[in-house]
Amino acid sequence: MTKEHGYLDMDLLRFTTAGSVDDGKSTLIGRMLYDSKSIFTDQMEAIEQASKKSGVEAEVNLALLTDGLRSEREQGITIDVAYRYFATPKRKFIIADTPGHIQYTRNMVTGASTANLAIILVDARHGLVEQTARHSFIASLLKIPHIVYCVNKMDLVDYNEDRFEEIKDQLEAFSSKLEVNDIRFIPISALKGDNVVHKSTNMGWYEGSTLMYTLENIHISGDENHIDCRFPVQYVVRPQSTEYHDYRGYAGRVAGGVFKKGDDVVILPSGFTSKIAAIDTFTGEVDQAFAPMSVTLRLDDDIDIGRGDMIVRPNNQPEVSQDVDMMICWMSERPIMANGKYAIKHTSKDARCIVKEIQYKVDINTLHRLEDDKDIKMNDIARIRIRTTSPLFYDRYSRNRVTGSVILIDEATNETVGAGMIVE
């Protein structure tokens, strides 16, 4: 394979970055882009100009690389989740860069919802602080499979090994309370470039990988669920042309498991059974389809199937219920209404729901359950029970992030007001 064709072997890692205001998050992202040579000269010129204009620093401020909108630059803050891209010969990366303060929880939840990995920045001078606990909790709540704690600003603690070990112990003790499978710790200095892309010469005692090496090599193909077959029907393809007169295909994106031609399937909610006659794509039939492939299934039998239905295997079916318990992150300025009615979206299904019970609010800094606090406002996380107008076909969020997630929508404003992760 020629060098130019190396990209055919590349895969995709989506990660999010979390850190409080002065942890150096923008500097870290700027450093990764800069040292991996993903910065273009005209972008460099633009930030050189902007650096001069803001007059804060004499040299080029790498953090400005990630500042987007004019209103953000003027206020020196980031308002919204921004997506950044870079690639190395091994992988393509998508960064969901979330701001450190305003509406923090809402933005981090959004950025974390599609991430395989979270980088959580910790200031070497301060160690584990309240915000670190919050970031870690959100990452575990959203079931991000891999968490990398970057202990930043090691240059300000004289690259001291004992300090790093002390913080690592703190973080390990705390994170044992969270459900995360893969946790790593890297001492870095984003400002000076230690252990970001290049191995630090100031921390000979550190024998682990640099951050970039970790990002390039972490194993992610096991992050998808390849066990429980779930195919939410998204769209029915019926060409009604002379060539494909009786063609009827069910288009969708595999949400879990591996579907093969000839498999027995059952359709929810009708309960009808059939077999997979073919798995179609534009370039022809394929033998199997797994998450997250977009394909079109044809079945042996002519059954009435539409958007919102789900194709599964008879011996492995999801929960089917109108009463669902979930953790919810609230995203609207209007607080959640007990007994309030909302529109709900779950995979390709639309329904309405009523909030039957607010069970407790979570103190996201201490992880304590606040059983008496039912006042759920923007950026709060709570456990609630809802009842839906028609049954949902779902798995626990911890089992499947696609079939275990929902959004709630305010029926008056049409705004997305809640992000729900199904517990049972």
């Binding site: 308002i79 599609t114 042309s241």
Partner: protein, 301 residues
């Protein structure tokens, strides 16, 4: 054990197909914006995949400034007749003739900004409730914060501070009467991804992207095609050079780069070695640091 993993291009393709199918399912009257540039060509290719063996279930809309490269128009017409897609053309010239917009004057005159008016008018006329565009988040900093499903008010405006949160792959296309959505199915693609995919899938593109001989002149460090649509200053002398275009837009604001890349492999090599973003040759973005942000708020692509 078998490994169930996708390459980055296949994963991006699958994501985009998912978004396109959501648009067809959630909206009553969607339309796909088509400029004849590589991004909209890739987006249209993905739409053909998404609904195969059915036809693409929405029309394409081209906002024609009247200052397009003739090669772009030829390419567009050929693609439409080959695929049987339905094309609607919104004409900036017509908006000018009807007095709805006033043409810019002077050396840097461009119809780029006027397109917004024609675009919004075409959307209103067709009663489209969703317009898909080939915008990518890596293109420009204002685009980095754009959603896949971007809500627009009844004036077509974008409010970057009041966007709906977009979680997982659950897209909320609910709206009130008169409002519409802009949808960006290839949001997560980079310029490099687009070129690699064009090569991988053997997708036809206008030959403007490949190296060719052309009369050009230099202005503010940008090579512009010598055309009747641009007024040259006295010291701007056109000469024959070997160039190609990295983006294709209106002739008046699309700069060429000197290049000998005459096939896709060479373009990919050039893109991976280049140190200037593709919009670096777009004089429309150079008007101010927040030029794109301002245009997007008003309803630009």
């Amino acid at each position: 054990m078998q490994s169930y993993s996708l390459t980055h291009l296949k994963e991006l393709e699958s994501e985009s197909i998912f978004v396109l199918r959501e648009v067809a399912a959630q909206f009553e009257n969607p339309v796909m914006l088509f400029s004849g540039g590589k991004d909209s060509i890739v987006m249209f290719h993905l739409a053909r995949k998404a609904f195969f063996p059915g036809k693409v279930p929405f029309p394409l809309l081209h906002v024609d400034t009247g200052h397009n490269f003739p090669e772009t128009i030829d390419f567009r017409d050929k693609l439409m007749s080959e695929t049987g897609a339905e094309l609607i053309v919104g004409s900036v010239q017509q908006s000018i003739d009807e007095g709805k917009v006033v043409e810019e004057k002077g050396f840097n005159a461009s119809r780029n900004a006027l397109q917004t008016v024609t675009l919004l008018e075409s959307l209103e006329k067709g009663k489209y409730d969703a317009a898909m565009g080939g915008g990518r988040r890596d293109e420009e900093k204002a685009r980095a914060k754009e959603r896949f499903f971007s809500h627009r008010d009844e004036f077509g405006q974008w409010d970057p501070k009041n966007q709906r949160p977009e979680l997982w792959n659950i897209f909320n296309g609910k709206k009130n009467m008169g409002e519409h959505f802009r949808v960006f199915p290839i949001s997560n693609w980079t310029e490099m991804d687009v070129w690699q995919y064009i090569l991988l899938e053997n997708i036809a593109i206008p030959n403007l992207y490949l190296s060719h001989e052309r009369m050009v002149f230099e202005r503010d460090g940008v090579l512009l095609a010598d055309t009747e649509y641009i007024e040259r200053r006295e010291n701007e002398i056109p000469e024959m050079r070997t160039v190609r275009f990295r983006t294709i837009g209106d002739m008046t604001c699309t700069g060429a780069v000197e290049s000998h890349a005459n096939d896709l492999e060479k373009i990919i090599e050039e893109v991976s070695a280049t140190r200037v973003t593709e919009r670096g040759a777009r004089s429309d973005d150079k008007r101010s640091e927040a030029a794109m942000e301002d245009r997007k708020k008003q309803g630009y692509f």
